[in-house]
């Protein structure tokens, strides 16, 4: 969508590891560690490609795969440096009524669940009209 609407769309990713997914939380913390080390999006993309293999050894290996300094990354991961940040995202989701993933909010319009790309285009086009 960002490529399709260059300069007109911004994406903000928020962590919402579901309690039923035991390995999701460390994956979210790991992604934030990658972000702190300057490689958030490559690591993010790696995680989605590697689902659901998120054991600690996997998370560390992926760090190396995307060019992160593995020692610093591992220190961050093991220290749970970003646990509170992930918790804060979960709380924000709860506070605004987001209960499931994925949930998209496009200029205030909620789009819940996986949708065909046409649905995103429709909501984005409408938001662009309103923004004029």
């Amino acid at each position: 969508m960002l490529k399709e609407y260059p300069g007109r769309v911004r994406l903000i990713f928020k962590d919402l590891p579901l309690p039923s997914h035991a390995l999701a939380r460390p994956a979210h913390e790991a992604a934030r560690c990658a972000g702190a080390l300057g490689r958030y999006w490559p690591y993010h993309d790696k995680l989605f490609a590697a689902q659901p293999n998120f054991e600690r050894a996997d998370l560390v290996r992926y760090a190396g795969d995307v060019g992160l300094p593995v020692d610093k990354f591992t220190q961050c991961l093991d220290a749970h440096r970003f646990a509170a940040a992930v918790d804060a995202d979960v709380e924000q989701a709860r506070a605004i009524g987001v209960r499931s993933t994925p949930t998209f909010i496009i200029n205030g319009r909620p789009l819940v669940g996986a949708h065909p790309v046409e649905n995103f285009r429709s909501v984005i086009d409408e938001a662009l009209k309103d923004a004029r």
Binding site: R8, L11, I12, K14, L16, A27, I96, N107, P110
Partner: protein, 43 residues
């Protein structure tokens, strides 16, 4: 509740007022007229 809360407007694209933004987890310009907030689970 979702629809009631999501009326906050950011400086450009609308962002729910209670949503914080971690700069490393953002793609696209801050001046974009449309903001997509995605809540997702890696697993």
């Amino acid at each position: 509740m979702l629809a009631l809360v999501l009326v906050g407007r950011g400086a450009t694209g609308q962002t729910p007022g209670d949503i914080t933004v971690e700069p490393t987890m953002v793609k696209g310009p801050a001046t974009a007229p449309v903001t997509i907030v995605e809540f997702s689970d890696y697993q």
